[in-house]
């Protein structure tokens, strides 16, 4: 190349659970470059000790989320040209989660909360976990099916959890993704654990803790609306409260 390659100025948080600091890197700017491409360049060409996590590179697996210039994002589908400010990028690990090293966070607390919110499908016809005798027919036009469909594409990337202020204020809060999962199951007519699930998501660390700041909805890379799902859970618990509880 005759002319000098334009360079991106990239700040990356380096450290571990004990603490860390920002490190500076220069990365050649390329056309159609994603933020994940930038991180991969640093790890392969500049400093092989950089820890980060990715798998599919096409927005399916939900493992490459990081905080990019202050906002949590899926890095594999985020073009540098969309987020760089004057050729500068600032990359940090997801907030609200323990850091393992550099850009890799421990996702265990995030997924533990899915379990706490009863995020496991429990077939009505086969409570013992066996396979039901026949296929369930769930017409696509029904309201419940549509409510479930609206939230079912979650890839578990943790972007909503990282962007949520309520999680930051109350570490026990189940968070947008786990509650969104619960809402899809509450709307699943094949599921038999509605009552237990609603009990699991009620209370101080459940859906009632949400202040509807809607950061989850604003940041979700899949365009899901966890805030709306949480509002749905609140409604499901509110009205039966006048009639002696959830059935």
């Amino acid at each position: 190349m005759g002319e000098a390659t334009a360079m991106l100025r990239v700040k990356v948080w380096r450290g571990n659970a004990e603490g860390g600091a920002m490190a500076d890197y220069a990365v050649p700017a390329r056309a159609n470059q994603t933020v994940l491409d930038v991180v991969t360049h640093i790890q392969r060409e500049v400093d092989p000790t950089l820890a980060y996590r990715f798998a599919c590179r096409v927005g399916m697996c939900g493992s490459c989320a990081m905080v990019v210039n202050g906002r949590p994002r899926w890095t594999c589908r985020t073009h540098v040209s969309r987020v760089a400010q004057d050729g500068a990028l600032e990359l940090r690990p997801l907030s609200n989660l323990p850091v393992i090293r550099d850009l890799a966070t421990d996702m265990a607390p995030f997924f533990d909360k899915w379990a706490k919110a009863r995020g496991t499908f429990q077939p009505k016809d086969a409570p013992d976990g066996s396979v039901p005798d026949d296929f369930a027919v769930v017409p696509p036009a029904t309201k419940q099916r549509q409510q479930a469909d609206a939230g079912i594409e979650c890839i578990g990337c943790g972007v909503c959890y990282s962007g949520c202020d309520i999680v930051a204020w109350n570490p026990d809060y189940l968070g947008p993704a786990a509650l969104n999962r619960a809402w899809t199951l509450v709307n699943d007519v094949r599921d038999g654990a509605r009552k237990d699930r609603l009990a699991a998501v009620a209370g101080d660390a459940g859906c009632h803790a949400c202040h509807s700041t809607q950061s989850c909805t604003a940041h979700c890379p899949k365009g899901i609306d966890p805030s709306g799902a949480i509002a749905g859970l609140k409604r499901s618990l509110f009205w039966p409260g006048f009639k002696g509880g959830v059935r």
């Binding site: 905080v67 509807s212 809607q214 509110f238």
Partner: protein
């Protein structure tokens, strides 16, 4: 990590306005009751207070108060619509409409001052 950049979207700003206006109104409420309480001291006490409150600085403060009240009301209705009616779409528009209602109420109050 409290990074404000992740909060720079309309719904979060609406949340902040709702919270701050609520706090400001809660702080104002005792003053409001104290002012009403002047009536118990007799007509003259209340009248004296009302005369004193005619000064321009207090009128500006009153206008701000009206805007805060309208913002809190409109913002509260927006949250109720979101949570009870499930109005999930068009949140940006609803935030903008709430802000519009608040400023319209303030403007109406200001226009009425001269009357």
């Amino acid at each position: 990590m409290s990074d404000w950049r992740r909060r720079s979207h309309p719904a979060w700003i609406a949340f902040l306005v709702h919270r701050l206006s609520g706090l400001a109104l809660a702080l104002f409420l005792p003053v409001h009751f104290w002012a009403l309480g002047q009536a118990i001291q007799g007509e003259a006490a209340l009248e004296g207070f009302l005369r004193w409150s005619d000064n321009p600085v207090l009128k500006v403060a009153e206008t701000v108060l009206v805007i805060l009240l309208a913002a809190h009301l409109a913002g509260g209705l927006r949250v109720l619509a979101l949570e009870f009616l499930g109005w999930r779409a068009q949140q940006k528009t609803m935030v903008a409409a709430s802000a519009g209602v608040a400023f319209a109420a303030g403007l109406l109050f200001l226009l009425n001052l001269g009357a």
